[in-house]
């Protein structure tokens, strides 16, 4: 647990994983942009660039899927996010 990573200290904070690292999150939902900023606080996306955000262990029976720009998803304890720009081959 690293309190420095926490954006807030609310009573209902949950632990989520973003790019393998633990974060505390005290809102019920998290947006595409908020997940991206947790993963890469110092690397704003260039115009037209889109990172791919995959999540799992969410609500509704371990809900998994991809979070699109502008979208949000409900958070849950130990929810897992992966945020990467998939341009290499």
């Amino acid at each position: 647990m690293s309190p420095g990573n926490s954006p807030g200290h609310g009573e209902h904070a949950v632990t989520i994983f973003v790019n393998t690292r633990e974060f505390h999150w005290d809102k019920k939902e998290i947006s595409y942009e908020e997940v991206y900023n947790l993963a890469f606080p110092n690397e704003p996306l260039n115009d037209g660039d889109v990172a791919r955000i995959e999540y799992s262990r969410g609500h509704n029976g371990g809900g998994a899927g991809s979070l699109q720009p502008g979208g949000t998803v409900k958070v849950k304890e130990n929810m897992v996010f992966d945020v990467y720009v998939t341009v290499r081959s």
Partner: protein, 394 residues
């Protein structure tokens, strides 16, 4: 059969010397006109077929496999009762010809047939004895004959893998296809590795880059140091290596850009595996307008404090598919990007793409069309399909 590999095969020579009528088709040795008895107690003729094992272009005499396949009705004894041994089993010899029975009868003493001659004559006896009981004049040795049906497959040496597995009918789904692979880096080279082993007519490779040591460490097989010293073009290097097997490969030592898209015009399917193509979006749009299906691959991998994590993505662009998935063209390498790629992840991404291609061709079964497949290193999960399908968390 002066130029045939069967010239040197002693079993084939002996069977012909004894007046068996043989043919070779779809990598199967076929014994024509084998007498047998049907359930209606009628004497008739069927055909025996066995996959031929080649070492290069040398016929191996005796594969150790005691089974054989039969083209005909249920073989019976002289009373019209099914004889033991044959069991119904569809086995494709060519896309047009299938056997309907597999026959399994091990030789009593050794358990294996010493050679193809022993195997074939033994099965001919099993089938024709009841026929001879009903009509003593019937025989499998009406006169030697040899027909070799060329398979017209785009290979340097016989595809006996298909014959052994009986997949000729399935593999016909690749015929007539002309595949383009844009980018022969870590992922594109592994895509070629698989596509070159299918029955596609032609494969066109596009890459303007040089094949250096670091590429060798992310490519299938093991590159020769002498090849690396020559700094070959990637497309030309891989065309040369894979032409050892597939005869329809052409190298284009050029990057595909918005200015030379017509080079793709002959393709029936395109794999987009170029990491640095600035014109990726234009290329994909051009293909989409012409109804040429395409698959793009892309990965993002980072050092997450002592271990690597990331995503592998395969994005399908098939006719009629909505454009919902995130393209690998929506991002550029930036100053933070170390371009981490590893051979196993390149390979996995390529295999996910090839499997999606084979699903598109209906070679593999597919529950439903999907527009993307994403593998997550950290969770070890694969998600198929767009958006927030909740059921794929494994």
């Amino acid at each position: 059969m002066s130029t045939s590999p069967f010239d040197r095969d002693p079993s084939t020579r002996r069977l012909l010397d004894e007046d068996y009528c043989l043919s070779f088709e779809g990598n199967h040795l076929i014994v024509e006109r084998v007498p047998y008895v049907t359930a209606a107690k009628a004497v008739t003729y069927g055909r025996l077929a066995l996959p031929v094992v080649f070492s290069g272009d040398i016929v191996q005499d005796g594969s150790g496999d005691h089974r054989i396949w039969f083209i005909g009705e249920q073989p019976c004894d002289q009373h019209g009762q099914p004889i033991p041994g044959p069991s119904p089993d569809g086995h494709a010899i060519t896309p047009e010809l299938s056997a309907s029975f597999m026959i399994s009868s091990k030789p009593k003493n050794a358990g294996v047939y010493a050679n193809t001659y022993d195997k074939i004559t033994s099965y001919v006896r099993i089938l024709s004895h009841p026929a001879k009981a009903l009509d003593p004049t019937v025989t499998a040795t009406l006169g030697a004959g040899w027909t070799e049906v060329p398979d017209d497959l785009p290979f340097v040496y016989p595809d006996t893998g298909t014959a052994r597995a009986g997949l000729a009918e399935m593999n016909a789904k690749f015929r007539g296809h002309r595949i383009g692979i844009i980018g022969l880096g870590g992922t594109g080279s592994f895509i070629l590795d698989q596509v070159s082993k299918t029955w596609v007519d032609t494969i066109e490779l596009f890459d303007g880059d040089v094949f250096d040591n670091h590429n060798a460490y992310r490519a299938p097989g093991a590159a020769d140091i002498e090849d690396l010293k020559l700094r070959p073009n990637k497309a030309e290097h891989f065309a040369r290596v894979y032409s050892h097997m597939h005869t329809g490969i052409t190298a284009h030592p050029d990057f595909i850009t918005a200015d030379n898209l017509e080079l793709l015009g002959n393709c029936t399917f395109v794999f987009m595996a170029a990491a640095d193509a600035d014109d990726k979006k234009a290329i994909l749009a051009w293909l989409y307008e012409r109804g040429i299906p395409a698959i793009e691959v892309g990965m993002g991998i980072r050092d997450e404090g002592g271990h690597l994590s990331g995503l592998l993505a395969v994005v399908n662009h098939f006719p009629g598919m909505s454009d919902g998935a995130i393209s690998t063209a929506t991002g550029r390498p930036d100053e933070y990007d170390r371009n981490i790629q590893t051979a196993d992840l390149n390979c996995l991404n390529a295999m996910l793409a090839v499997i999606n291609w084979k699903k598109y061709l209906t070679y593999y079964a597919a529950l439903e069309p999907v527009d993307e497949t994403v593998y997550r290193i950290f969770t070890g999960t694969i998600r198929n399909g767009n958006g927030d399908a909740g059921e794929d968390a494994a």
